[in-house]
């Protein structure tokens, strides 16, 4: 048991201070924010007592962004300026958008950027900016009901999201002024919500059918460790597709041949959606649609009829379940529990098919709309440092293989899918011409062997390679995927030890400077506020560093440091304390940096000590 006492992550927090943190489920159809208060996680409601925030943003010509129910109501009267299902476009390029464009009424700006922009009355916006507008509302809601600034958030993403989509999500959060502790896979969040309540141990399947995405994840729970064994799914399959299937059927039934009126299409889609919801509780329902000529028509739909229409879509999810089980190397009968997530799992046929497939009734105890946000809130609370004794650990995997383009347009896998992250893999390259000083590497993500069938993530230009004869240079490129599933690349020429400069050009994302530019634009009006806020943030950061270093020195400073080392760290800390009370940002930053430099070795020693204690704790356990 000594194991747990030492597992505290070192010098992070003062024990009694509760930090405000929240979990955010940024969904295709709806978004939610949840937090843990007095040990109980719950979703936060708006002034009208609603916990869902429709992920719909309407841009007005005044420049104002309206988010939520009001925006959603305006969708059929103002389809071009009302953006829904924006999550489908996150991290997507112009080419990806084309097949979706037919289904989305918006005008995409025809310009030569890789990131598509939607033209609205308030200007042209990327998916990231639209998502940021949704996140701002959730941030405000959380800060209003918690009565303070959030230290950080956990934002959930579909397990199936690739690097570009994850990066876009994180960038959207930055734009909304949020500090992201972690991007968490939605199904993992759902398992957290259930796992802690029930103390489950065994194999868990999480079936998450939301509005726009489908995920299946196979997890193993053991002694507080959630290990993702495999993930699969489809980033373009969800309840929206049920609506569309139903809508297409309605169009046929109504004998509509001209489908070019976006308002009519929107009305039919809304009616289809209402019909689907009604069929959850009844076997038959009526929907009414106002046609272009103003006449209303009523259609009758039975549950059997709907089941038939959506069966092919459910089949796709079953196939993905089979594949995920195989990747995890477990059989359907090994699965202990099946967790249902996402509003679309309310569709009775979905529940039936899953219970059939896994041979046991699916878990539906927690509201399938809230379960992800609740899991994210639990994780955010832990990551904020509010539960130092918490044993829970989430080990996630990379959902799609990372590879590079080789000759002939083929891919070579560097990190295969379902590898536990964080992970680093190195690959050696050489030059093929005498005196070659630059080289280009194309990184892709996906399972196909042909580069064109994978998603292009980035092109890296390696420059400043020392000129040598062909084949003599040994360039070691390290691909590092962090715990959020985001990729970083470093390159080094081994024979000379020169670091080659890596220039990243994200294929579908925005460069850091573009994001910075957007940040500046969005905050231009509130410059003074921003200054004050930045100073306050630095002071908070300084306090945190001071507290942390004090706690660490008190715990094991004398044990791990020589007198000199101890004194050096103390002196750096004292400088920081002094500057913290001055009103300037930069000196505080520099002093924080100085403390970090002075304690670098100390931090490493503490981490080692912690690992060793864990191992030692284990050996003792084994002998008992």
């Amino acid at each position: 048991m000594a194991l747990l006492q030492i597992s505290e992550p070192g010098m992070s927090t003062k024990p009694h201070e509760h930090r405000l943190a929240a979990g955010i489920d940024l969904g295709t159809t709806n978004s939610l924010v949840a937090t843990v208060r007095s040990g109980t996680p719950s979703t936060l409601e708006d002034a009208e007592g609603r916990y869902l925030l429709p992920s719909v943003v309407r841009y007005l010509s005044s420049g104002e962004a309206i988010v939520g129910y009001t925006a959603r109501q305006a969708a059929s009267e103002d389809p071009y300026n009302t953006i829904a299902s924006i999550k489908r476009l996150m991290g997507r390029g112009r080419e990806d958008v084309k097949p979706l464009a037919g289904r989305m009424p918006y005008h995409f700006v025809d310009e030569d950027t890789t990131v598509p922009r939607i033209h609205t009355a308030a200007g042209d916006f990327t998916a990231m900016q639209v998502s940021a507008d949704i996140l701002k509302i959730l941030k405000q809601r959380a800060e209003d009901s918690l009565g303070g600034d959030l230290t950080g958030v956990v934002i959930t993403v579909p397990a199936y999201f690739d690097d570009a989509q994850r990066q876009a999500t994180k960038d959207a959060a930055t734009l909304a002024g949020l500090n992201v502790f972690r991007l968490l896979n939605e199904p993992t969040a759902a398992a957290v919500a259930y796992g802690l309540d029930k103390g489950a141990k065994g194999i868990i399947a999480v079936y998450d059918l939301g509005g726009g995405t489908f995920d299946i994840s196979i997890l193993r729970l053991n002694k507080g460790v959630f290990e993702v064994l495999s993930t699969g799914g489809d980033s373009a399959l969800g309840g929206d597709d049920f609506d569309h299937a139903l809508a297409e059927w309605m169009i046929q039934q109504l004998g509509i041949t001209d489908t070019s009126d976006p308002r009519l299409m929107r009305r039919i889609l809304n009616a289809a959606h209402e019909g689907k919801l009604a069929l959850t509780d009844t076997m038959e329902t009526q929907v009414s649609v106002e046609l272009s000529d103003g006449e209303s028509r009523v259609l009758s739909i039975s549950r059997d009829q709907m089941n038939e229409l959506i069966e092919p879509l459910i089949n796709k999810t079953v196939m993905a379940c089979r594949r995920a089980l195989r990747d995890a190397d477990v059989a359907a009968e090994d699965v202990l529990d099946v967790v249902m997530v996402g509003g679309s799992t309310r569709v009775p046929r979905v529940r039936e098919r899953m219970s059939e497939f896994f041979g046991r009734p699916a878990l539906v105890d927690i509201d399938p709309d809230q379960v992800v946000a609740i899991g994210a809130a639990i994780q955010a609370d832990i990551l904020a440092g509010n539960k130092p004794d918490e044993e829970m650990l989430l080990l996630d995997v990379i959902p799609l293989s990372l590879g590079i383009e080789t000759m002939g347009g083929l891919t070579e896998k560097i990190i295969p899918r379902n590898t536990t992250i964080p992970v680093a893999r190195a690959q050696e390259f050489t030059t093929f011409k005498d005196g070659q000083t630059a080289m280009s590497i194309h990184v892709v993500q996906g399972e196909r062997e042909v580069v064109d069938e994978c998603r292009s993530l980035a092109r890296f230009a390696l420059r400043d390679i020392p000129p040598m004869v062909a084949g003599a240079a040994r360039i070691r490129v390290t691909f590092q995927v962090d715990a959020d599933g985001l990729l970083n690349v470093e390159a080094r020429e081994e024979t000379s030890g020169v670091s080659a400069k890596v220039e990243v050009k994200p294929s579908y994302g925005l460069t850091d400077s573009e994001i910075e530019h957007m940040l500046r634009d969005s905050m231009a009006h509130a410059r003074d506020d921003m200054q004050a806020r930045a100073l306050r943030e630095q002071q908070v950061e300084a306090d945190r560093v001071i507290e942390a270093i004090n706690a660490a020195l008190q715990a094991d400073g004398e044990e791990l440091l020589s007198e000199d080392e101890f004194a050096r760290i103390e002196s750096a800390r004292d400088t920081l304390i002094e500057r913290r009370n001055g009103g300037e940002i930069e000196p505080i930053k520099a002093a924080i940096k100085a403390v970090e430099v002075a304690s670098e070795e100390y931090v490493a020693r503490r981490m080692n000590k912690s690992v060793q204690s864990m191992m030692a704790g284990h050996k003792v356990e084994e002998f008992e």
């Binding site: 010098m11 502790f181 590898t419 992970v423 942390a548 204690s613 284990h618």
Partner: protein, 182 residues
């Protein structure tokens, strides 16, 4: 005091396991979780920049070590590498003619599987065969390695590599078949 984050230590030393082909996977899994419990970046979400950096490096290293020792083929290659035996899976090929014949036959079988009356169960049969041979190779590798017959061990590892590739192909085939059958 040994430093655990000393990246020059072998994966076996990291896990406190003897350097051998047979590993106690249960003990390894337990120690893996303990190390990640202390090192994982989630433990440093509100830590300093350098803690986070060190934690990502350390956790990546532990993950890599675990994935290497967990996988029978990668473990074999790693043991050979520790003994200084060069192993280039792309350039080296197994030289046993009988084995190569078997590989060719298996590949042909796999290609013709679509025309079988029940292709999925035919795949299952091939898959079971490969598993059996692979287990046999693992036993052979262990014996050769323990006798310090490193060249033999290397040849066996190369054969394991063949089966692994075949297995990958088989799974791709299985996915294709499932898609056409759905």
């Amino acid at each position: 005091m040994p430093i655990d984050l000393d990246f020059s230590r072998s994966y076996f030393e990291l896990f406190g396991l003897p350097e051998s082909y047979l590993v106690d996977t249960a003990v390894m899994a337990d120690r893996y979780r303990s190390m990640q419990a202390a090192l994982h970046p989630d433990r440093f979400a509100s830590g300093s920049e350098q803690e986070r950096r060190l934690s990502v490096q350390g956790a990546s290293w532990v993950n890599e070590a675990y994935e290497t020792l967990k996988d029978p083929l990668r473990r074999a290659r790693y043991l050979l590498q520790l003994k200084g035996v060069d192993f280039d899976a792309d350039k080296d090929t197994a030289s046993d003619p009988e084995f190569l014949m078997q590989q060719i036959e298996l590949r042909e079988q796999l290609e013709q599987i679509d025309s079988e009356s029940d292709p999925l169960s035919a795949l299952d049969r091939v898959s079971a065969d490969i598993r059996g041979w692979n287990n046999e190779l693992r036993n052979q590798f262990e014996a050769a390695y323990n006798q310090n017959e490193l060249d033999t061990a290397r040849q066996i590892a190369l054969k394991m590599q063949f089966f692994n590739r075949l297995f990958d192909e088989l799974r791709r085939k299985e996915e294709q078949l499932e898609e056409t059958l759905m």
